[in-house]
Amino acid sequence: MSASTPATSPSGTQAPTRGGFSRWVQRVTSGSTWTVYALLIVVFVAILVMNPSFGEPMSIMAFLKKAAPLIVLAIGQYFVIVSGEFDLSVGSLVGAQVVIAAKLIDGEESMTWPVIGLMVLFGLGVGLVNGLIVTLLKVPSFITTLGMMLVLYGAIRLWTGGAPTGSLTEGFRQWGRGGLPDTPGQFQVPYAVLITVVLGVVAVVVMRRPFGRTLVATGDNDVAAAFSGTAVWWVRTRAFLFSGFMATVAGILIGGYAGVTAQVGEGLEFMAITAVVLGGVVLGGGRGSVVAAMAGALTLDALFTLFNQLSLPSTIRPAVQGVIIIAAVAYAAMPRRSRTAPPGAPSSPTTPAGVPEPTVPKEPQPAAP
């Protein structure tokens, strides 16, 4: 189900093959969670071959800093998607948060923290509204968040009169572009990366807790979840709250990294959904791991870096992106009996039919990332 639950991974239900290696190969090619890690490595190797200097710690950190907002967004989107919904409003929300920050802070260093607090509240508020409309008013999340996207897009421009005004402070922007230790030009670990790691760990822990399990169960079959005592509406609303919070953090990071423009956040919702799906998370809910979703975001950003290295004309990039996401999902969806066969099914692909293999003690699973 998710990489954070190795006990349920397919290998547990398959007849053991020769050694851990072929099992590992099978898992990597299985098209689910593990494929994205393989894809990520392939893309990284390709970039390194094209441009060996990319492997230097500073370049890697610069790359991670650029990728951090999308990873954070992917975490938030993962919560919503795994619970069986969509959130199309995150792109607008990121844009709205950046504009709000610029307008309210307006260069006043002392305003930085109060405004960040306000932004978090605003993000949670948007998530809460999304969640309640979806769960209590039963409006499909696609429509709810589409409407929210329009509302936010219009409201922010209405408020600022069309173009973003004000400016961000250094104290605000450091989160997106600064790092530890604070010596520009030398190696440093960007705050953005630290924040992303912390949020990633929190997400993994949350998904292992009862809430996470309930979330996945709700996404898999909300009727069954409801009959087993889950308050489906509250579980899903909390997923939207997470998404709103993550979009806020992403907004802070993007605002710090790239500054304020009118186009901030445009198209980010589709990027985030693409990243999550690239990570093997099934649209419609119930399947996929949060770490793989983060890896999907990283892969997407690595692909864009690769396109840069290949100096493709920028106009052709969407086409390549389209081919890749279709290919990745088609590959994951290829019929494989190992993924659909129930435990103990008579014909597992690794077991020649009719040859009962002796049960070998299960080998220790590779540590879950």
């Binding site: 079959n221 992106q321 389209g322």
Partner: protein
């Protein structure tokens, strides 16, 4: 209005009986909402001393309707099949370019241009349908990907407007017969064809069945892949017609048409029209009402000179509010067939490929709307 459709067999209508017979179907509610919005619009415009139903306003409303209408009718087929098409905006742009560059200002090449544009559109639909049904890619991702591919091609190939539409064909965009634009007449023809397809023919019934529950449909002997491919080809064809219309209005083809948001707007219109986003229930007449609602909002905002940003806010809020208004009713378990009454399921893309819940297991279930027949 009473032709609101589902695959209800004649007998299914008699299952729901009693007071429910008089309940308003979702299409009825949509038309009520439309009437309400028209009334409010007329009142607001009248308060400003204008007339909402003036010739100019009606013409604007109808021409807005026809553009989105074609795309939304196509989108209805796809959504009925529990699929989705996010590539329509790019298809509209592409077919307008193909038409304009093929015609190249030569009146004798009009039909060639029309055929070429529709062929390109149908080809995109075929690819969409094949990717979704044969490669089993989720429709959201498949059509998003195909759309991105087209976007990449268009941006690389066409820098700015190109081609020229002959004067004779520009009439498709501007001419009116009496007060009615030609494009609206074409839209009406397409609408009638669509309604007949969905309510009177086998492929139409199959679409409802596939959208209701694809596994049950397959077990009943329906070639589900064909239904999905057909729906996508029809959807893209409709988008192609919209592309022709846009080309006729502009007099040239333009790639930037894809920024007009036809993809999300058409989905909003379809859902506003009472078609379930999870497939299996809905009607083209409802979709038309949804399009009319969006178009009258646009018209009244225009007349009242509302700030374009405030327009977005209102449009978003109204879409949510309108869908919320009848979302509860649609999934009201009591409106399903009695047998499934206890198993009502919430709306949303919540049922994954393996999560087909019991609620979706009633492709021939009856809502109140059949009872109004």
């Amino acid at each position: 209005m009473s032709t609101a459709v589902s695959t209800a067999s004649p007998r299914a209508g008699s299952v729901t009986s009693g007071p429910r017979r008089r309940r308003l179907g979702s299409t009825g509610i949509v038309y009520l909402a439309l009437v309400g919005i028209l009334a409010v619009s007329a009142g607001l415009v009248a308060a400003q001393g204008g007339s909402f139903f003036s010739q100019g306003n009606l013409f604007y409303l109808l021409s807005q309707t026809s553009l989105l209408g074609f795309v939304a009718i196509g989108q209805t087929f796809v959504i009925l099949c529990k699929s989705l098409d996010l590539s329509v905006g790019y298809v509209v742009a592409w077919s307008s370019l193909v038409a304009a560059t093929t015609m190249a200002g030569d009146p004798s090449r009009i039909w060639l241009g029309v055929v070429a544009a529709l062929a390109v559109a149908a080809g995109v639909g075929l690819v969409n349908g094949l990717v979704i049904s044969k490669l089993r890619v989720n429709s959201f991702i498949a059509t998003l990907g195909v759309g991105l591919i087209i976007k990449g091609y268009l941006d690389t190939q066409y820098k700015g407007p190109s081609g020229e539409i002959p004067k004779a064909f520009q009439g498709f965009g501007y001419t009116r017969i009496g007060p009615v634009p030609v494009s609206v007449i074409v839209l009406a023809v397409v609408m009638v064809l669509g309604v007949v397809l969905l309510t009177r023919t086998r492929p139409g019934y199959h679409m409802f069945a596939v959208g209701g529950n694809i596994d049950v449909a397959r077990l009943s002997g329906i070639r589900t892949d064909r239904s999905i491919i057909l729906a996508h080809v029809l959807c893209s064809l409709c988008a192609g017609v919209a592309g022709l219309l846009i080309a006729a209005r502009f007099g040239t083809g333009n790639a930037l048409v894809y920024t007009y948001g036809y993809d999300l707007n058409s989905i909003a219109a379809v859902v506003l029209g009472g078609t379930l986003l999870m497939g299996g229930r809905g009607s083209i007449l409802g979709t038309i009402a949804g399009v009319l609602i969006l178009a009258s909002l646009d018209t009244v905002f225009n007349v009242l000179d509302v700030s374009p940003f405030f327009k977005d806010v209102l449009r978003g809020a109204i879409i949510i509010a309108a869908v919320a208004m009848y979302a509860r009713r649609q999934i009201d378990p009591a409106s399903s067939r009695a047998r499934f009454r206890a198993l009502g399921r919430s709306v949303g893309p919540g049922s994954g490929p393996d999560g087909g819940g019991p609620g979706s297991a009633s492709p021939t279930s009856t809502t109140g709307k059949e009872a109004t027949r």
